[in-house]
């Protein structure tokens, strides 16, 4: 009980801190931060349920007005902005990523974690994200999808990093990667 609560809270804090790591500009000029990497890690390391709870806790604090989102953003305004769909997608992303790692025990952890990060952190995240942009910006779904496209290369890189980090963590602290426990 205590360990779960503390792990969930500390991973929520980790997502916040990763959002503060200086952003990198891709060749396309699109800035990427490590925040969504944090969301992927919540799922691949803590597992589906705990990972989603950590992300929900992080979002609760953002909604309450703490500037924890990348770029020091926060507050209720974000939940009606075009980014709202991505925020709603965050806990789903962590859940899906965790679920994939939990279910695919037969293949190596690196592979299942990368797959989980792609299915969760990209597929499960982009669907509500694109729907959210389509609603708030009054665009059709394909049009909104085009707006999300520039972020795809960065997120693919992050999914790869999330997979390798998860495997490295499992080596360093074998009993800490709860998605495989």
């Amino acid at each position: 009980m205590e360990r779960n609560v503390v792990l969930i809270a500390l991973f929520a804090a980790l997502i916040a801190v990763l959002g503060l790591i200086p952003k990198i500009n891709l060749i396309s000029g699109v800035p990427i931060t490590a925040q969504s990497l944090g969301v992927m890690l919540c799922g691949t390391v803590l597992g589906a349920r705990r990972g989603a709870l950590a992300v929900l806790l992080f979002l609760l604090l953002v909604a309450l007005g703490l500037p924890l989102l990348a770029g020091g953003r926060g507050g209720l305004g974000l939940f009606v902005s075009p980014s709202a769909g991505f925020l709603i997608g965050f806990p789903i992303a962590a859940f899906v990523a965790g679920l994939v790692v939990e279910k695919l025990k037969a293949i190596p952890l690196t592979a299942s974690a990368i797959l989980g990060a792609v299915l969760g952190g990209i597929v499960a995240l982009y669907i509500p994200g694109i729907i959210g942009m389509a609603i708030t910006l009054e665009k059709s779904l394909p049009e909104a999808a085009m707006l999300a496209l520039p972020f795809l290369p960065g997120d693919l890189i992050k999914a790869g990093i999330a997979g390798m980090l998860t495997a490295a963590l499992a080596k360093a602290r074998p009993d800490a990667v709860l998605s495989r426990a």
Binding site: M1, E2, R3, V5, V6, L7, I8, A9, L10, F11, A12, A13, L14, A16, V17, L18, L20, I21, P22, I24, A34, L37, L41, V45, L57, F58, L60, L61, L64, G65, L66, P67, L68, G71, R73, G74, G75, L76, G77, L78, F79, V80, S81, P82, S83, T136, L137, E138, K139, L147, I161, L165, A168, L169, A172, R173, A176
Partner: protein
Amino acid sequence: MLSLTSPVKTRYHRLPAAAKLLALSLATFLLFVIETPVFVVAVLLATALLYAVPGRAFWTEGLRLLRPVVFFVAVVLVWHIVTNDVATGIMICLRLVAAVALANLVTMTTRLEDMLDVVRKLFAPFRRFGLSPDVLAFSVALVVRFAPVLLEKGTRLAEAWRARSARRARWNIILPLTLIVLDDADHVSEALRARGGVETTY
């Protein structure tokens, strides 16, 4: 930990948080249902007035909090200039700015403690499903306490990296940082158990 609550004290600060949140939900709902330009402009003007009343400092702070929508406003405007439908584009942007500004107003004028109180009350009915509002409040306190601690440790990792390498640390420090999180979690949960667990400590 810094929150987005405005240091400029206004009369809005004294309104009950639950009432503000309820009014906000209603306003946002209406804003997305009623699409007449007159209504949207009226809401935007009323919002601007609410920001203007407490003075210049509050107004400037409000504008700064609107930065996240600037990118989307630019995209929508360019889009509708290209498709030759500028009027619709302007309406979408006005509504977007009004909705976000209204929500920011609640964030700026409500203290974190008051927000937390609302959350605890909202979660009280879930106690019978095993979700204790005390555990939730404790988790919130943990994040608020540990985010700055982790940031500090991350900064030290980055500095240690720079002392050894000509290049700046980027992804390289995430692994040690996550290891610190896992180890800290072990220590904190042991300390909690030693003091009687989450439910009794809080």
